[in-house]
């Protein structure tokens, strides 16, 4: 777990990426969500395309809604998903 985070994708994001989760290593001990996203996008063309096409992606860290300025650290569970449509 040291240095790694679990990333989850839901709904249209999951469908377009063709996967629902992955483990990635952090470049630093802790980084803002937006840095993590930049790293993911630079490594993965498909993911870059999906994030570019969906401007309203939301993020949760350890199952709490978060912002792209919030910090991700080793062992965290980070989830990306489109706006919620329950009820």
């Amino acid at each position: 777990m040291q240095g790694r985070v679990t990333i989850l994708y839901f709904a249209s994001l999951r469908e377009q990426l063709g996967r629902e989760c992955e483990d990635v290593s952090l470049t630093d001990g802790q980084v803002p969500v937006q840095t993590l996203v930049s790293d993911l996008r630079s490594r993965d063309k498909a993911l870059d395309g999906v994030f570019a096409a969906m401007p309203r992606i939301r993020v949760a860290i350890n199952q709490e809604l978060a912002s792209f300025q919030d910090t991700v650290k080793a062992g965290d569970e980070v989830a990306f998903f489109p706006p919620m449509t329950g009820g």
Binding site: Q63, F81, T85, G87
Partner: protein, 155 residues
């Protein structure tokens, strides 16, 4: 008494209401909202598939229920949300509240369903009779309804 449930199975509205009504002898009013898969819109909708984020869903629903409980001085509060595939006419969500006075129960139910729509990690995939499918877009009116409860003058 708060009861939050995420499940595939249908719920029994009569049993849920009866349980809420008996939570305390001080209950004077109960309010319920039930949402179901709406058909007859001419678009050939056949089913909805409800996806969710297990773990986070239960946490957020419990947080909403606790907020409603204290804000509206409830005696009981039940939130049940189904996941999986549901067909036209099938129930999706049940929100029920019990309070001493009617206004509290009515407002709490409206608060819960408005907030739940945009504040709990559920997503809807629509499937149509011609084989098409698409993810339901979030609606700005739902965001506005949820945000309106941030204004305490609504209590």
């Amino acid at each position: 008494m708060i009861r939050v449930q995420v499940q595939q199975d249908e719920f029994d509205m009569g049993a849920e209401m009866a349980a809420l009504s008996r939570i305390s002898g001080a209950v004077g009013g109960m309010s319920v909202f039930m949402g179901q898969v709406r058909g007859n819109q001419g678009d050939g909708l056949e089913s909805l598939t409800l996806e969710h984020y297990p773990g986070m869903t239960e946490k957020m629903l419990m947080g909403l229920a606790e907020e409603a409980f204290s804000r509206f001085h409830l005696l009981g509060c039940t939130v049940i949300h189904r996941v999986g595939i549901m067909y036209v006419g099938d129930p999706i969500v049940f929100v029920g509240t019990a309070a001493s006075h009617r206004a509290a129960a009515l407002q709490a139910t409206a608060f819960l369903i408005d907030r739940l729509k945009t504040g709990a990690p559920f997503w809807k995939l629509e499937r149509f009779t011609d084989g098409r499918s698409h993810w339901v877009d979030a609606r700005e009116t739902d965001d506005a309804a949820a945000a309106a409860w941030d204004d305490p003058s609504k209590d």
